[in-house]
Amino acid sequence: MASPKVAVVGAGVIGLSTALCITETCPSCSVTVLSDQFSPNTTSDVAAGMLIPHTYPDTPIQRQKQWFKETFTYLFAISNSAEASEAGIHLVSGWQVFKSPPKEELPFWSDIVLGFRPMSEAELQKFPRYRFGQAFTTLKCDCPPYLLWLEKRLKATGTQMYIRKVADLWELRSEYDIVVNCAGMGAQELVGDEQLFPVRGQVLKVHAPWVKLFIRDGDGLTYIYPGVHKVTLGGTREKGSWSLSPDAGTTKDIFDRCCSLEPSLQGAQDIEVKVGLRPSRQCVRVQREVLSQGGVKLPVIHNYGHGAGGFSVHRGTANEAAHLVEECISVLQGSSSRAKL
């Protein structure tokens, strides 16, 4: 197999970064990205893109830590380079505050972000209803810039990208040797995964350029994340809700909660409301599968179910998926050379 043809389904942060990793790990592959949506209409475009990991209950912590570390290291290098502004990647410092003692004093990612330490008494005075806090510096990936930057890198490698709704992975068998499923929430329909469920998130993107620090309530529901041009105010975690329409009552509630953390937000302008469905799962599915139908085989690599933690672990899971593709290719090449005998 001279040039294995790989189709990546999905063009959010997972699809694009996985496609890019495949071009890096398997330069002989020809990679095509297929998706019904591209930036700025993906779930990733709604997310703030903050590198603060979500803990998956059923993925071993060491694996999550490895994913986060690889992602952080990769983005750290870009943030420090001339491409930082184009890629929308920047360092941001801030505070995570808790009303009651956090479950863990030191989360698994505390030694990967920069300067992690408990908040001082003087800092906590700014949050009278909170009693504990953590201060650290992390990275933020702004979308659309980051997705557009990934698309640009992909085009430079010769990767083709097409708007196409894939209804069934089998329809790709005739054109592609390997399919990589990065369909996010779409995987529920595409591969019938009942363990995948939406967690609806509504956010506000506002113009408040004097906000330079992030503030996050440790319960994960209220947060203020300053991006390049707009500040993301959040949010909600509505398990099982499929609604993509903004809710006015929720908008007011988010705004009020954020203003109580940062009163100056009362002066925010140009409020845009966005909704995304986090493709959630007890564990991220990064896994090889061989589909079989009437004697025909279709190798599939899954990389979906990142829920609230997509940005935090995207590069790590993309690397893992790319290695699975590489393994797949060796198997295919092994069996095709056997076929020659």
């Binding site: 930082a84 410092s93 300067g115 001082s120 800092e123 004097w210 620090l213 009163p263």
Partner: protein
């Protein structure tokens, strides 16, 4: 009673406000007048980025450290008020970078979350081996000065656009107290060889992805002669020029190149930042701030002058502590003039 304030930078306006707030109730007939040749946005204060940060060493000048702290605490208290946005006041975190270990500064416990940089953070800044991280305040002159002006106008303070050539000019005609907040031009009113310009130049760029201040230090070349990057609410200020004794307010191409090259080396992504302006100004530098009373005989009149100038590159940082000190001096003048029937305090 008439009070004349010379100068409408951060020092003049805040001193006027502090005095009016504290004494207008006690001396209802008091009239304040601000005289200046430059008003916002054309003052030295408007050119500064607005970062609250004193110099590295206080040279044993504890009084200035106290005034710095009073200013920080006052501003921190204003942070959650509805006025904060209009004042141009917000929190900002960032880095101070050195090529060798240095002692902690006098202000380490004034700012929030002061700590040393970790090795991983230092990887961001090749060439620097030591540094600090802390969260401080920004007070942008372009917003703060108009805000002060509005507060003063509401209180009936009058403004006069003129270059005052002498104390006599403003102190005749019933003016009892003159506040000399003339900054760099104080020498025109009364010679002061200790007051010298510390010329600075800055480039203003659009770089909204920068969320931290970065101030580098070269202990050999002295304060602010090493690149710095300070993100504001609308644009980012690039600087790193301090030329003692240079009176030129013209932008220098050589300084532009020095600032641009050194800041881009510090933050490579700045190469893509669009330049939106450039400005040069003179920091009114003095070995220590001149904040004191002086009685000046003018013919057969005596005027009380309160000097409040010489704040160098830390005017915004120290302004409120100085304004309160100037107000205390004003209070003692009022007592002497028996304008205050009894000094404030418990009745016998």
């Amino acid at each position: 009673m008439r009070v004349a304030i010379i100068g409408a930078g951060v020092i003049g306006l805040s001193s006027a406000l502090c005095i009016h707030e504290q004494f207008h109730g006690l001396v209802p007939s008091m009239e304040l007048e601000v005289y200046a040749d430059h008003f916002t946005p054309h003052t030295t204060s408007d050119g500064a980025a607005g970062l609250w940060q004193p110099y590295l060493s206080d040279h044993g000048n504890l009084q200035e450290t106290i005034w710095n702290k009073e200013t920080f605490d006052y501003l921190l208290g204003q942070l959650h008020s509805p006025a904060a946005k209009e004042m141009g006041l917000f929190l900002l975190s960032g880095y101070n970078l050195f090529t060798e270990p240095v002692p902690d500064p006098s202000w380490k416990n004034i700012v929030l979350g002061f700590r040393n940089l970790t090795p991983k953070e230092l990887e961001l800044f090749p060439g620097y081996s030591y540094g600090w991280f802390n969260t401080t305040l920004m007070l942008e002159g372009r917003s703060y000065l108009p805000w002060l002006t509005n507060r003063l106008t509401q209180r009936g303070v009058k403004f006069f656009h003129k270059k005052v050539e002498s104390f006599q000019e403003v102190s005749g005609d019933g003016v009892d107290v003159v506040l000399n907040c003339s900054g760099m031009r104080a020498g025109d009113l009364q010679p002061d060889p200790e007051l010298q310009p510390g010329r600075g130049q800055v480039i203003k760029v659009l770089a909204p992805w920068v969320k931290h201040f970065i101030i580098t230090h070269d202990l050999k070349s002295g304060i602010y002669n090493s690149p710095y990057v300070i993100p504001g609410s609308e644009f980012t200020v690039l600087g790193g020029i301090y030329q003692h004794g240079n009176w030129s307010e013209e932008n220098s191409a050589k300084d532009h190149k020095s600032i641009w090259d050194s800041c881009c080396r510090l933050l490579p992504a700045l190469q893509n930042a669009k330049t939106v302006g450039e400005w040069s100004g003179l920091r009114p530098a003095r070995p220590s701030v001149r904040l004191e009373r002086e009685s000046i005989r003018l013919g057969n009149l005596q005027a009380e002058v309160i000097h409040n100038y010489g704040h160098g590159g830390f005017g915004i940082t120290i302004h409120w502590g100085c304004a309160m000190a100037a107000a205390r001096l004003f209070g003692s003048i009022l007592q002497e003039k028996k304008q205050l029937a009894t000094p404030p305090g418990p009745r016998l």
